[in-house]
Each structure stands twice: as structure tokens, then as C-alpha cells.
């Protein structure tokens, strides 16, 4: 009985120390921020239904001069290197753009790219953003483009494809052999900072942080060069899942082996206990 009391005291002080060093310190150093908001309330919602056919014509007239749509076999007019030299950053492929990005965000982005990405602190008149604003288009035309982009591919993009289209222009993930499309030097000139390799981000930042961060980077880090990506909740989950798969590849093995190791030690403990009782019976 006395030993149980001692164990309780030891566990109590250990727990208090752990609580102070982990959850409490974390709460003090990383004040709580509102969770990811996928409703994109600051974006004015589209009031009209888009026309896919008209959207196709608009995209062909306005977008493919810079963007590729690989799912339709349309390659980009320039190589990654040339595009990076010309624009500072490689323009994204549009195959899944209409699906992985929120519709209202996409419409808002077409009207005001810098505002939608929340990069006003990085880009302006003196340093123009690569993507021009399409405010001269009507509400209907914007809706048409969004409708067409959402109609290009019928199959769901894999986790890796979502990552490549949404993040791969700037971020490498070398533990999966993926190199950022934009060369590092161009990106540094364009954003004013290098985009880090994100192979280990799932461990250095954890899924919960990434979820809010990808949704709204500026909320987490002041003055950061990372744009608000505008992914839908489902697509963002795919990005995080892909990062977890790369950064924590042995998770399944770890969790299944864990049960065996714990089971083995539990049985060992039980046998040791019975042996101890037997041995001590002779001396007590």
C-alpha cells in the first residue's frame, strides 16, 4: 500500500512537470488562433451560374498564354526555367484548379489576385504580382471561367497531384523526390524568401498548425511571403495527408509494432511479478 502511495506521489510530480513543459508552455508560446475557415467569408460569393462553354472560350483567350492544362494535353508555352525568368514564379497548371480551390476564392482571386492571396505587403505597383487582375470581366464571365475550370477533369486528383498543383511551384518535398518547379534563385527574388523544403513539415509544424497555416499563413506568421492558398477543406486534407505520408512513412509499421512490444513487456511484467511474489514469500 505504501508503495502505491509513493508511486502516486512520483506520478503526480512527473505529471505536473510534463504539463508545465508541454501543454502549458505551448499555450503560452503559441496563442490560440481561430481554426481554419473554409467558408472564405471575405470573398464575395458568385451570384450567377456559370456557363461552361463560354468559360472555355474565355480561358482559351485569357489563360493559356501562360498556364498549361495538362489534362487536355495543353502544355505551357514556356519551360519552367523561362517562365520563372519571365514572371518570377512558374504559373500553375489548371487541370484541377477549379476543383481543388474554393469557388468563391477562385472568383475573388481572378478579380483581385493580390488581395485574395493576402500578399498586399509583398506586391503592389512597384513590385507587380505575376498574375494580372481580371476586374474588367463581368460577374457572369468570371462565373463562366470558374464553371469551366471546375469541369475540366472528372476524376478526383490524387493527394500528390493536389500537392504538386497547389504547393509544388514553390515547395520541394525531396523525401519524395519532388523538386519545386520554380528555381530557388527566381523564387527568392520574387518572394523575398526561399520556400522551405516541406518533407519534414508534418513533424516540425504538426497537422493542426498546417491546417490553419495553409488556409491563412499571415495569421500564423507576421509578414510571411506565403500566399493564402484558397484550397477547399477536402483538398487541404489531401495536402496534409500527402505530407504526412512522406514525413511519417513508417506510421502504420510503428503503430502495429507498438501493440506487440507493449504486449510483450506486459506479459514479461506479469511473469516477473509472479516470480517476485514466489521468491519474496520465502524471505518475508
Amino acid at each position: 500500500m505504501k508503495e502505491i502511495k509513493i508511486l502516486a506521489i512520483v506520478l503526480f510530480f512527473t505529471a505536473v512537470t510534463y504539463w508545465g513543459v508541454e501543454p502549458y508552455a505551448h499555450s503560452q508560446m503559441h496563442p490560440h488562433v481561430a481554426p481554419a475557415d473554409f467558408s472564405f467569408k471575405d470573398m464575395e460569393p458568385l451570384h450567377v451560374n456559370g456557363n461552361v462553354e463560354n468559360g472555355k472560350a474565355l480561358v482559351e483567350a485569357n489563360c493559356i498564354a501562360c498556364h498549361s492544362i495538362k489534362s487536355l494535353g495543353q502544355e505551357a508555352p514556356m519551360s519552367f526555367e523561362d517562365a520563372a525568368n519571365a514572371y518570377g514564379v512558374v504559373p500553375p497548371d489548371l487541370s484541377h484548379a477549379g476543383v481543388i480551390y474554393d469557388k468563391n476564392y477562385l472568383a475573388g482571386f481572378l478579380k483581385d489576385p493580390v488581395g485574395a492571396t493576402k500578399l498586399l505587403h509583398k506586391f503592389g505597383d512597384t513590385k507587380p504580382y505575376a498574375m494580372p487582375s481580371y476586374t474588367f470581366l463581368s460577374e457572369q464571365e468570371i462565373a463562366d471561367i470558374v464553371a469551366y475550370l471546375g469541369n475540366i477533369v472528372s476524376t478526383k486528383a490524387s493527394n500528390k497531384v493536389v500537392f504538386e498543383e497547389a504547393c509544388g511551384r514553390c515547395h520541394s518535398i525531396k523525401y519524395d523526390g519532388f523538386k519545386a518547379q520554380t528555381p530557388t534563385a527566381s523564387l527568392k527574388g520574387y518572394l523575398g524568401a526561399e520556400a522551405p523544403d516541406v518533407s519534414m513539415m508534418i513533424r516540425s509544424k504538426k497537422a493542426e498548425y498546417l491546417n490553419t497555416f495553409i488556409n491563412e499563413p499571415l495569421k500564423m506568421v507576421e509578414g510571411i511571403a506565403m500566399p493564402r492558398v484558397g484550397l477547399t477543406e477536402a483538398s487541404q486534407e489531401q495536402v496534409v495527408a500527402y505530407m504526412e505520408n512522406v514525413g511519417d512513412r513508417k506510421k502504420a509499421e510503428r503503430e502495429s509494432l507498438g501493440l506487440k512490444l507493449i504486449g510483450f513487456m506486459a506479459i514479461f511484467t506479469l511473469i516477473a511479478y509472479l516470480w517476485k511474489v514466489k521468491i519474496w514469500k520465502e524471505v518475508e
Binding site: E3, V10, V21, Y175, M200, K206, K250, R254, I279, W280
Partner: protein, 416 residues
């Protein structure tokens, strides 16, 4: 040479050449341990097991780790964690065992203080134990740097910089330790050597001395009572096992240790497989970047109390720079436990803390103060936090200054 006759078997063959039976008697079956001890006395054996885990997993990691600033991070996070079969297991076991070792060391240390195991003839056990603590600290610090993560790098930068506080030669000492003007490849390579060769050797030797120092004064017990080990062990050997106050190390004492070790290792593997990150700072999964300082720099949890004593003195006092006062306090904090046997001036009272009238308050105040220091050692040192740290650091030093006086006073009470 002893007379060698035809052996009756393998053990006998060995016995004639190595006296294995006598060795086993001295080390195991007739090495006497008091009967009235609780599971806290098993912490030593838990530490031996943990050290074994660290040694074996460390050797496995050593096969794939690259001590080069361009390769180190990926060799750990990619090669070991993803490519090597069960590399993640060795790495997590190594990381969790490092943290768990310090938790057990602290329990072991506070057990020693609580039951007065540092007193009256056991000073060498205590001092060799504290030397082990310092050796383990150096081992942990040098190992923490090896993955070349962001926090490893900055912690190394900050800790090595502390030596600049040494008068006159400080700045040169820092460069000498780093092997460069900043923490760089030369630093990583020498810390690698320290971590895998020199410090483990030192630890193994000091562990041997620590064990040896237990032989004459014997292990203390729960009531801190002295008894005649020769008479008690004779009783045991004569068959009076229930009457005797002692038990042999093997099998009686170890049967209990096996149970405690089993219990501990069950929790250990739960941590390794499901909660390994409790022992790993997430910032360390970012590669070291000398151009980008992390928002908060702090050491691993087991050094936080020490770190807080260092930075607790955040304002100049009487013309003395805050940094210098902090450094002096830091040095004192690192050696003050070592001289504990000489600070406790109550020669007669070897009772456990709960039977000592003043010492018990001193003990629990120390435990609480060190937890406060640990918690505030991680928090940003601003506003109220800085003052809490300052007060806790002053209390910490004050406790050790007060100890000789209160124990002397306690001794007077005992005489009456």
C-alpha cells in the same frame, strides 16, 4: 598458477581459470541488500537498462548517421527514419530513452536526498552519482546536436557561448570549444566524437566506480537505519531468511527489479510507438539555419531548471552585470548538489525526510522550486515570467545557503 585439474563441466572449467563462482558470490548471490526498501531503489537498475538501450540503439544509429553538416539532418530524418529497416524504432528508442534516463535520474536523485542516502559514509556514492549526472548531461547535450536541427543548432550556439563568461580567456575558450567562430562543421564533428566515444567511456567507468562505492557502506534503506550486514547475512545463509534484515542481490532483490523494469519498459514502448514526440522538440525537425533564429530558444526539458537559474537574474545588481550574476548562479547550481553531504550538518539524523522536523519542508520546497524553474525555463522570459524565474532562482540558491543552518539547528533539537 593454481593447480588445474580435469574439469567437471564448462562452469568448473571457467571457475578454475576465472574464479567465476567466487565472482558470482561477491557480485550477486552474497551481495547483500536491505529488505526494507521500496520500488524507488529499483531506479538504479532501470537506469542500467536504459543505458543499455541507449548504447545498443546508439550503435545501430551509428551505422547510418553522417557527421557532416550537409548530410546529418537527412541521414537522420530520411535514411534512418525512412530507408533503414526499423531505423525509426532505434531512433525513437534512443530519443525516448535519453529523456526517460533524465526523468529516472531525477527520481533517483530525489530518492537519495529524501532518505538521506548521501550521508554518513555514503558520500562517495553520492559524489560519483553526481559526476555521472554531469557526464550524462554532457552526453545528452552533445547528442542533441547531432541531427543538426534548428533547435540543436541554436541551443549549441547559446550553450557554447556561455563559456565566454569565463574571465579573461572566455572568448578564446568559446572558439576552442567550437573549433570555429560559430557552431559549424568542426563543432558537429567533435561533438560526434564526444557523444559516441569519449563520454560513453567516461560514463561506463564512472558507473563502475559508482557501483563499487556501494560495496562498503552498502545500500541505504527505507528507514535509514544502520544494521550489521555481517550478522544479518549470516542469519540469511543459516536459513533464517525471514528473520534476516537483508536479502541477496540475486535472485531476491533482482526479482523485484525485473518487475519494476518490466512495468517501466511497458510504458517506455508505449511512448516510443505512440507518443515519441513528447521527447522531441518539433522545431528540431527543421534543418539548422544559421540565418534564422527560432522565436524561442530553450534546451531539452531536463536542463530547463538549470537554464532558468542562469537567466533568472535578468537585471544588474550592485554594479554587477546580470549576465555575470546569472553565470555564477548557473555554475553554483551545477555543483551545489555535489557538496550536499557537507551542507547537511546534522550528523545524527539519518532518518528519511518525513521523520526530520525541518528538513522535510526543505526537501519539498526544493522539489517544488525546481518544478517552477523547469516550467518557467521554457516560457518566454518577459513580464511576470521573468520575475517568477528570478524569485525561483533566488529561492533555489537560498535553500542551499540555508541548509547548513537549518540542519545544525535540527541537530541541536535531536540532542535534547
Amino acid at each position: 598458477m593454481a593447480e588445474i585439474r580435469k574439469s567437471e563441466g564448462f562452469i568448473d572449467w571457467l571457475d578454475q581459470r576465472l574464479a567465476v563462482k567466487a565472482f558470482m558470490r561477491v557480485m550477486m548471490t552474497e551481495y547483500w541488500i536491505p529488505k526494507n526498501i521500496n520500488f524507488l531503489w529499483a531506479m538504479g537498475v532501470v537506469l542500467v537498462i536504459l543505458f543499455g538501450v541507449l548504447l545498443v540503439t546508439g550503435l545501430l544509429l551509428l551505422m547510418y548517421y553522417k557527421p557532416d553538416i550537409n548530410l546529418a539532418f537527412d541521414s537522420v530524418n530520411y535514411t534512418i527514419m525512412q530507408e533503414v529497416e526499423y531505423g525509426w524504432l532505434w531512433r525513437h528508442m534512443h530519443g525516448v530513452a535519453a529523456s526517460a534516463t533524465f526523468l529516472i535520474i531525477y527520481i533517483h536523485l530525489f530518492t537519495g536526498i529524501y532518505y538521506g542516502s548521501y550521508k554518513k559514509g555514503r558520500e562517495m556514492i553520492w559524489i560519483t552519482g553526481m559526476v555521472l549526472f554531469i557526464a550524462f548531461s554532457a552526453e545528452a547535450f552533445s547528442g542533441y546536436m547531432l541531427p543538426w536541427g534548428q533547435m540543436s543548432y541554436w541551443a549549441a550556439q547559446v550553450i557554447t557561448n556561455l563559456f565566454s563568461g569565463i574571465p579573461v580567456i572566455g572568448d578564446d575558450v568559446v572558439i576552442w570549444i567550437r573549433g570555429d567562430y560559430v557552431v559549424a562543421d568542426a563543432t558537429l564533428t567533435r561533438f560526434f566524437m564526444l557523444h559516441v566515444v569519449l563520454l560513453p567511456l567516461v560514463i561506463i567507468v564512472v558507473i563502475a566506480v559508482h557501483f563499487y562505492s556501494l560495496r562498503f557502506p552498502h545500500v541505504n534503506n527505507q528507514d535509514s537505519v544502520e544494521f550489521d550486514f555481517d550478522a544479518e547475512s549470516k542469519k540469511f545463509l543459516d536459513g533464517d531468511k525471514k528473520e534476516s534484515k537483508v536479502v541477496p542481490f540475486w535472485p531476491v532483490f533482482l526479482s523485484k527489479d525485473f518487475f519494476v523494469v518490466g512495468f517501466f519498459m511497458t510504458i517506455f514502448f508505449a511512448l516510443v510507438c505512440y507518443h515519441f514526440d513528447f521527447a522531441m522538440d518539433p522545431i528540431n525537425f527543421e534543418p539548422a539555419n544559421s540565418m534564422k533564429t527560432p522565436a524561442h530558444i530553450y534546451p531539452e526539458w531536463y536542463f530547463l531548471w538549470n537554464y532558468e537559474v542562469l537567466r533568472g537574474f535578468f537585471f544588474d545588481i550592485g554594479g554587477m552585470a546580470a549576465m555575470d550574476i546569472g553565470l555564477i548562479a548557473f555554475v553554483i547550481a551545477n555543483i551545489v548538489f555535489m557538496i550536499l553531504p557537507f551542507l547537511d550538518r546534522n550528523p545524527m539524523n539519518t532518518a528519511p525526510a518525513h521523520k526530520r522536523p525541518i528538513f522535510k519542508y526543505w526537501f519539498w520546497l526544493l522539489v517544488c522550486d525546481m518544478i517552477v524553474l523547469t516550467v518557467y525555463g521554457k516560457l518566454p522570459p518577459t513580464g511576470m515570467n521573468a520575475w517568477v524565474g528570478f524569485v525561483a532562482a533566488v529561492i533555489f540558491l537560498g535553500l542551499f545557503i540555508a541548509l547548513p543552518f537549518i540542519t545544525k539547528h535540527e541537530a541541536k533539537g535531536d540532542e535534547q
